[in-house]
Symmetry: D2
Subunit: 384 residues, 4 copies
């Protein structure tokens, strides 16, 4: 089978991670052929060119429409801000491409539904890039739950806590503007834990939430570049923060489990604290992204006096993905989840498997987020 030819749209944080994944996947995971890193596409010529050099893209481009129109592209990877996902991804699907799209699938449920419909019509491989499903510990948790190790699920509680905009002098970057970002931590962080909930527990039935913007005005900066550069900017004037700083909600799943969710950028000391706990009739699981190689497991069937949460280091040959890397005890990091993700997509294109979460999953996640938003407005419970 010939190499799969890839075009990546996006050169920022996600552009970097996806580039690295394509650059390294074949070193560790079996593929008929390594992916062909055909072209990377961005708006800033200098940056796009530099990214191509750093990660080994053969070409760079400034026009995503032209890229999509190319015949020599099999897979389009959309790693741009959320307000552009629908347009690019739908165009790529219409052009018959396989498509990876960064999460959240879209800024609105309507866009997400259109994308899922386009994906269904296209019939190509499509993935909404909720990379945390590819953390070995989480993939293993899913397998344990699926095979019944936890019994009936009673509770799922998840939080995704960060603290990077606590400083009131932190500027009004695009992520704090509703028209660009769609929302704040709700779409950025809750999207992740809602997807994990769907992965681990199942579909949502109803939700009820609350949101708050703690710091309502921030310094405006010229440009809307990456955070690093934005921070350095001299603030001339103040502008309104139009997204929430925190979003919490309660949920009931279709299988009657109870859920509790929280996303915030105002939890001092929590850098990337994506954590969940699942309680079932036979045991419990606990995860924290800041220790992503670890899964904690309580097994009710252990002897009463030897029972306790086990700290499982998910680096064994038998753990999902882990055996492809290093011997037991040698931990992996954040970006490996993207390598796993890209591998799954490439294998699906090779026809060896199907891949999830697809655009339909991305759209259903968006439906949950959307229901939460409506519940916030209505101040009551809302069916998903």
């Amino acid at each position: 089978m010939p190499a799969i030819r890839v075009a990546l749209i996006g050169t920022q944080f996600m552009g970097r991670v996806h580039s690295h994944a394509f650059h390294t996947v074949a070193s560790f995971f079996p593929l008929d052929a390594p992916p062909d890193m055909t072209v990377i596409c961005g708006r800033n010529p200098e940056r796009t060119h530099a990214m191509a050099e750093r990660f080994g893209w053969r070409e760079s481009s400034l026009d995503w429409r032209k890229v999509i129109a190319r015949k020599d592209i099999d897979l389009v990877d959309v790693a741009t801000p959320g307000d552009t996902h629908a347009e690019i991804a739908i165009a790529a699907l219409k052009a018959g491409k396989h498509v990876i799209c960064e999460k959240p699938l879209a800024n609105t449920a309507a866009e997400a539904r259109a994308m899922a419909a386009a994906a269904k019509k296209a019939g190509t491989v499509n993935l909404c890039a909720f990379n945390y499903r590819r953390v070995p510990a989480i993939a293993h948790a899913q397998q344990m739950i699926a095979r019944g190790d936890l019994g009936k699920i009673y509770h799922f509680r998840a939080r995704y806590l960060q603290d990077w905009i606590m400083d009131p002098e932190f500027p009004l970057v695009w992520r704090l503007q509703k028209d660009r970002a769609g929302s704040g931590p709700h779409g950025d962080l809750n999207a992740h834990i809602v997807d994990l909930a769907r992965f681990l527990v199942g579909d949502f039935f109803e939700v009820c939430g609350m949101m708050e913007t703690f710091i309502k005005q921030r310094p405006v900066v010229a440009g809307d570049g990456e955070l690093g550069r934005a921070r350095g900017g001299k603030a001339k004037k103040m502008g309104a923060v139009t997204v929430e700083d925190a979003a919490l909600f309660l949920a009931r799943f279709k299988n009657c489990a109870l859920g509790s969710f929280e996303a915030t950028r105002f939890a001092a000391g929590r850098k990337n604290h994506n954590t969940f706990e699942v309680n079932g009739s036979k045991g419990s699981l606990v995860f924290d992204l800041e220790e992503l190689n670890v899964l904690k497991y309580y097994n009710c069937a252990d002897a009463a006096t030897e029972r306790g949460f086990r700290t499982i280091l998910c680096t064994d040959a038998g753990h999902p993905y882990a055996g492809r890397w290093w011997p037991a005890g040698h931990i992996i990091g954040y970006e490996h989840t993207f390598t796993h993700e890209v591998w799954e997509v490439l294998r699906a294109i090779e026809g060896k498997t199907t891949v999830k979460p697809d655009f339909e999953d991305g759209s259903r996640c968006q439906d949950v987020l959307n229901a939460v938003e409506r519940s916030v407005v209505k101040r009551c419970w809302v069916k998903v």
Copy 2:
């Protein structure tokens, strides 16, 4: 000053803990005189007599009304199930006694308000026994927040998770019957974390919650004794569980902080997991009752590369209560919180201090719980 003469009503779990506290307080804490353990009162003659012997009560009694009527009693400690609190405590207050009452103050907000009114009228020392305010780590957390170490509070999230009734064969004890217990983990566990929230963050503004009973029928047992005995009983027939198994809610505080609360008896592996996290503009605090000597603290003012949650072992001479016990590093346990509590009450009776949480606090806590219950029925947000 003469010894303070104490009558304890109740001989079960709380009866044991309070007895131990009165028996040991003067060994470690300065008092004008040790308390006089005058009389313990219960319904079961054998048990009550045995308790008197074990803990050094001078007399035992089977009639709380007679006990309260005695002239030689200064302090009445009510450690009975919640449905009897109002009657006993109000009678004691009317008799001019100082009163300790176990939490929750009452099974209903109306009863609680009547008790607070009676306490106000009596003008004697009164305490609602939320003992966790007397954990050194929590008392220290309160001092840190009060002096501004955390800055403006953004988030308070608390959960109180247990797993002791997960077995469907666990019998229908009084704690699972609404007429006796008032509620399930809501009054039993959420009461504690609501009180801690009021202690640490301040008054509630509005709440929105959900509840669920996972196991709706359980074996009926004769008698309604302690759990240990109940477990052994041969179940003849099934009866309806009339309290919830889990209760979650979101909250907004008057100072605009956001709150998230959860109590359940269905979290496998969590034995007494009363945990909270407070995030403020200057730092964060984390606590877990299963490691009750530890307070975790993140200080935003630490150097960027040396910043991290500190694991503070609250056994230093400078920590609240701790210096009265052992040298640094020698941990204390659950029951010490009651010793601290009893000491505070005795000092207040000696006139050296006032004591909180009083019946007014207990009543306000009940108002929050009550608002949650209404929100569950109305399926929307409710003002406290």
Copy 3:
């Protein structure tokens, strides 16, 4: 059976803990009769009298010889500094008393042997008060090892780290003077972990160690009272520290397991870090006194992908001692180990059990410590 009549010699830290144990043991542990707290004996009249009041001793005395000579004493508890143990304990044994003696049994191996011989001759109940054998987690560890859960033992590594004399201004208290204390952390802390090693692994075969005194001169204080008071003293002149600040050694056990031991008072941040790890052919155990309710356990027989150290909260009804206190999840503290210890001694006197570690164990522990001291001088391995 009539009450066992107790005399306690010693009014400092250990005097306090032992007093509390006698004062509370009958509230929680079954005995034919509560102990009769007949007399406490110290050198400082005021302090001794106050201790009697605080803990309920019926009399106080300033002359241990007179106390031992009394007919109405069954049990003598020696809680004085190590240089006085042999004289008092041997006298008590000769008087036909049951004897508890604080650890280390003596300051020298010769004294310890004399004490063991006297105990053997007396035939009364005798205990060397290594209280950590009575931590539920450690007692449980011993049971697990004894029943073969760990298989063949390969490694035992233990450290007992503290930091309370790191300040060079900390004064030259009696614990830093060889003639009074016998040694520094070697006899104070290594004694504990050597006893635990004997309890958990078995007898020592050979050892090789090193010692160091980091701060060789310290301010002299008047009196040699408790640390608290000493700290406040105005230092007039400097004196030589005549004990070590740290003592490390390697060991080989008779069963071929390898051991590693360390005691220091110069480990910044370690308050009472008495920790060990046992590795056997079937699993491992880890303990840390600063979390004394927890035992960590790795079971090689768990499924490969669900294997990890379990954090066992040793508060279950099935754990040693724990069921006598509170429900699962309600932790106990440092002093409870003494309550357990006193209970074991009283039961042994009641004739219901025998009790260990006895004076023979105390003497053998001293032999190990002594062999380490000789190895330090000879700079090579020494047989125990």
Copy 4:
């Protein structure tokens, strides 16, 4: 500056890690030019060719002598078993190449000294690949100690515990044969922690150790390939294990700090537990490779009641290497340390810095290991 042309000798575990490092370094770290991955060299043609394909080596070779003789090679990376290091590395140095050599530098102190001499004579860039110096947390620890944050160092205690050969059926692979491997965990694991001790604390003064082989006979397998394959082999007969299974030693540093070291492959549950603790007069540091993004730090200067070990997640922009990867809170894994290492070597070749640990360091590490071996034989302390 033209690209640096690299030849890698070795295709097993270390071959994979080094290949990945060269393949990815330029994506994240600034270099004048990405390294040119010229040739990989191994003994097995199939495997060597496959490695070239997987990681992007332009050629593969079966003859390291020919490779070293090539003019178009600037840097030779020796990632073979220890018994071949001296011959290959010295040849490469004589050919004027820059050389990376895996640790331990050699199987004997004599070989190591010859290599250090050859490196000195060659004057090219040389590195002994103790990759753990490039863990951000450890590099940061070194900076903290160097700038005096810990004050005078009193204690360094390190252990490197694994459990991968505990099964008596595990076969007699080359790592268990003295003529190939030189030693067991002493050279494999103690080498690492000795190097870290030299990095963090300084030079050793004297040592005293012990060793043990727990399982003395193991099944012989045909071939001596990688463990994975060896495990599958059908054992025909038994052969003698000629290396130790565990090696422990005590040490005194030239600056008077005390050290304690242990390496074993028989610590059930410890997969890659490379852990150390440093205690100084101003604070302490703790590290564990199984959580390699974390450094624990106790600062004596913190307020007495807010003092505790800080859990520092070393993913901040200010931490060594970390800022080149992802935003704070996004952890890295094991192999990143090799990327950092390769970057340092390439920069040194570019003339921008010098690099340590060099062959001289590797030789001094070997001297320490050698002194321990002598102390084991002599059963007493030995000067390094």
